[in-house]
């Protein structure tokens, strides 16, 4: 097995507040890795650091052995890391198809002038990415909505569009930020199927943030539990649910809620 993502001693401070405290973990190729913890534990902050939105106060992020700390977010995508957002962020004026096509942006390598003068490569590439987009939408079962405005879809389907859009960028590592949030049990089950499919058909490694322990247990091979920016557990899901620290962190959270 080889490591695809290596988060090394990352610390992130906002003003005086420490959001992430000396966090390290590594994800192996082909894994579904979970990052869980109560609200405010710093999970999304970690995503933002991996994807280059934030620059960590200390520490490094290695992707496939190369240092990507502080690489611009759009460059991180071209290196092979894609993400979704906690609160779905689709391009709201655009159709489902166009949302997916955005993901194929770098594949469609025709120039601005080729587009303006409608040169052959424009037609060739546009046809290719449309075919690819339809195939991808079929995998997610959203091809029937291709021409609908993305934001007219149901919540569960919007989530699928967002994941499909991320997959379209041809990543090797996919970061999913609370993919099951707000879904009903039926939709959650579909999501599990899709994630399994992604792993097998697209050869993806998945790092996911979740709040829902049950979902994580079913999905992940390995997980890290965060509480107030600190790692309190790393290991197999089965061991996590009996770990005292994890239980107390979660109980505390439930009390707040």
């Amino acid at each position: 097995m080889n490591t695809i993502l290596d988060v090394k001693n990352v610390t992130m401070k906002f003003g005086g507040v420490t959001a992430i405290d000396n966090l390290s973990f590594s994800v192996e190729k082909g894994e579904v890795y979970g990052l869980i913890g109560p609200n405010g534990a710093g999970k999304t902050t970690i995503f933002n650091i991996i994807t280059g939105v934030l620059y960590p106060t200390e520490g490094k992020v290695l992707f496939e052995g190369k240092d990507i700390t502080g690489t611009k977010p759009n460059r991180v995508v071209s290196k092979g890391v894609a993400r979704t957002f906690q609160n779905i962020r689709l391009f709201k004026s655009m159709s489902v198809l166009d949302n997916i096509l955005i993901g194929f942006d770098s594949y469609a390598n025709y120039s601005y002038l080729e587009a303006i003068f409608r040169l052959p490569r424009y037609f060739k590439r546009e046809k290719e990415i449309r075919d690819k987009a339809y195939k991808l939408m079929e995998v997610f079962g959203i091809d029937i909505f291709a021409d609908n405005r993305a934001t007219d879809l149901s919540y569960g389907n919007q989530r699928k569009v967002e994941i499909a859009r991320a997959v379209a960028t041809n990543p090797r590592l996919l970061l999913l930020d609370e993919p099951a949030a707000g879904m009903n049990p039926n939709e959650t089950a579909q999501l599990s199927n899709i994630i399994h499919k992604l792993k097998s058909e697209f050869d993806l490694t998945i790092l996911l943030i979740e709040h829902d322990m049950k979902f994580v247990n079913a999905m992940c091979n390995k997980l890290t539990v965060l509480d107030y920016g600190e790692k309190i557990f790393e290991g197999k899901p089965a061991d996590a649910i009996v770990d005292e620290k994890v239980i107390s962190a979660y109980l505390g959270d439930f009390k707040h809620a």
Binding site: T51, V53, K72, P73, N74, V77, S78, A82, R83, F85, R89, L90, F91, K92, S93, M94, D98, L101, I102, G103, F104, D105, S106, A108, Y110, Y112, A115, I116, F117, R118, Y122, F123, K124, E126, K127, R130, D147, R165, A166, T169
Partner: protein, 347 residues
Amino acid sequence: MFDFKRFIRNIVLILATLAFIYYAQKSMDSYNLSILMNIGIFAILALSYNLINGVAGQFSLEPNGFVAIGAYFTAILIIPPETKLDMFALVDPAPIVASAHMSFLPAVLIGGFAAMLVAMLLALPVFRVRGDYLAIVTLGFGFIIRIFAINNPEYTNGAMGLNDIPEYANFIWIGTIALITFIVMIHIIYSKYGRSMKAVRDDEDAATAMGINTFKIKTLAFMTSAFFEGVGGGLLASMLTTITPDQFSFLLTFQLLIFIVLGGLGSMSGALFASILLGWGLEKLRILDENITLFGHDFGAHPGLRMVVFSIILLLMMLYARRGVFGDRELTDIIRDYKRKKLESKK
């Protein structure tokens, strides 16, 4: 992707438009022709303004500045050298200005490229931060360009401006270039570049997370807009035959803003529709600036009243009809959606 039926349809549409342009130039009277030429120039400017403001969603206030650049470059290049020597009253023209001379089309294109170059220089500081400052930088630029024109009489003949500009720009030139502008804009919109611009408009962070270089996309949209505004300026200079620094005031930008809001920000069909409707309507609204007589009472002339009406129209549209006539979509999309919905309801 390549649809032969659609290709033939588009060719027919283009030929029909060209035939109309030729017919209008040959057989219309000069008053109606001048309205058509105004509409043509408005269309070029509104379409290109819509690309940066509507499609890419970056609020800018540049048209008057870029139109001025295009107008000055074109005018200086097409006025014959001997005319220039007579015209420059304050100081002698700079040697390069005095000797430069070329035919109309390259001069207009150079005007466009000059505007595009300036846009690139402005984009660098502005788009490094989020697009917020674009509006104020471009607004400021519109004023600065006037200061430069006044303070460099060896290039611009100062506040007196340039006159005796050869009147090459007829409706064939203006109409054809307006048509080309429309086609280019549509081609941009239905390409990955247009999609990226819309993505930046809808959600800049998500666009970045899709691997889009938002700085590059915004700059591309801005430079493209500037190019066509410069070209429009060149045509305008040759149509009017006289230009002065005060002519390219903010009013021009403001009118265009109303055009693209009315048509629907982001819709090129809308911008074209609004140019035709308002290009004609503005001509008629001129009465507002003349003497007003209501119920036999003479209210006198109120210069500025027309602009008060403009601003109220704009404000009302923003508050109650923000999406304009076409929303952010093209006519063809609206028709397609309509057909699809009808089909679905039949099932």
